[in-house]
Subunit: 247 residues, 2 copies
């Protein structure tokens, strides 16, 4: 028995999220199907670094699974890719320690969020950006980003639908927004993210950009520990799980 660590990309557009569920096609379902086929019908369980929601994409999701198949790691990439649809891509497969755990061993994650900031919609970018046709004060957004840096209780930026009862303190090492052409690109790096946290942060920052909030209001939102004080949850389609870090 060998444990493999695998980096995958996916276009979340046509999936009901990462995690297997009774109704709806999922990324986990597709990967487990492929692995089960490779293992001649034996069910192979896949563990991700964390779930992603319906419509959310990944540039560098990490999963692990155990296998009895005796092929070299470098041949795995192609073997697995052959059995996957065109919207899921295997970036790498490597042998891991037997104790490696894609979820428990993460020490950090990076998310990016893409906003299409122009008057007109772009039908060719509709699955990969959130279209915002309004004027935005980008400098105000950039100032707002600075208030979430460091260690805070992010209760105000966590969906009330979360199942996590534990502590909501997280440390954010990067929260930034750059303008590139007609796109705003948000980058968030931290030791962990709560349910919908990135999407609520982006929704709040965009509300700052529109003038509904002042940048420094973000500080008060954090202190309030109250989801109703922050902004709306930005849509899933602009969000990419960009990278997962391990020791």
């Amino acid at each position: 028995m060998e444990r493999l660590k695998c980096v995958i990309q996916y276009d979340g557009t046509n999936y009901s999220g990462f995690q297997i569920q009774p109704n709806g096609v999922t990324i986990q379902g597709k990967i487990e199907q492929a692995l089960t086929k490779m293992h001649k019908g034996e069910y192979i369980r896949v563990i991700p670094s964390g779930r992603t929601d319906k419509g959310v994409h990944a540039m560098g999701q990490v999963i692990h699974f155990d296998t009895t198949i005796q092929i070299e790691a470098f041949k795995w990439k192609r073997a697995l890719q052959t059995l996957l649809p065109a919207d899921i891509k295997v970036k790498s497969v490597e042998k891991a320690e037997k104790t490696f755990h894609a979820q428990h061993d993460t020490i950090g994650k990076e998310y990016r969020y893409f906003v299409l900031h122009q008057k007109e919609t772009d039908i060719f970018r509709r699955h990969y950006t959130y279209h915002v046709p309004f004027d935005l004060d980008v400098a105000a957004i950039q100032e707002a980003c600075t208030y979430v840096l460091g260690t805070h209780d992010f209760t105000s930026f966590c969906s009330m639908k979360t199942h996590i009862k534990g502590e909501k303190v997280r440390t954010i090492s990067e929260a930034s927004c750059i303008k590139e052409g007609n796109e705003l690109i948000f980058t968030f790096k931290g030791d962990g993210f709560l349910y919908n946290m990135v999407r609520i942060l982006v929704g709040t920052f965009l509300a700052v950009g529109k003038g509904y909030f002042q940048p420094e209001d973000v500080r008060e939102m954090l202190e309030a520990k109250d989801r109703t004080k922050s902004g709306m949850t930005a849509p899933a389609n602009g969000l990419f799980l960009w990278d997962v870090l391990y020791k």
Copy 2:
């Protein structure tokens, strides 16, 4: 009764082409459905500048139709868009001459073809580019492009499945290929294009880039008037009907 000229964009990924057909969802079908709804059930026929195939996109397709609805042209854009899916976009609607004909009055068209030229696939560009992982001699491709400029019989670059029995002489005013980052962008402008002509030109030029043909072979292909002498038909997903010109 008024005739309207309408510029539309579409993402052809999920359609069986422009033209209505018994099986499969088409762009024409979607637009006629929307117009018929606006006209309280009266069937409204849509005439395009020309068809596009399954999977082909449009940045500036032109259609015309007749209407009895008495609203100002500038309100039409929004009224129609509201009834269309997210992958079809109305760019403009304007009142046209009663004799205007979207197909017969064209004096030229522009197509672009996008090649993703890198080793790795890009799942987020898969519907909008043709992925070519091989080395390509771009200078040879650019030279090959020059041989199709001017007026030629393009029989060798017309699908044998064409229904057109007429003359296959066309005048090409631009045929170019530029490298932009990891993309090759082909641009073709001419007074008209035969069935699959752009895709066969691109397939042939890429074969030149790979060294299967010499650039000057294109001249002989034109002279041969024989489809079997030219290259393969490049896939639909890289092709965009970019613009349609009228007097």
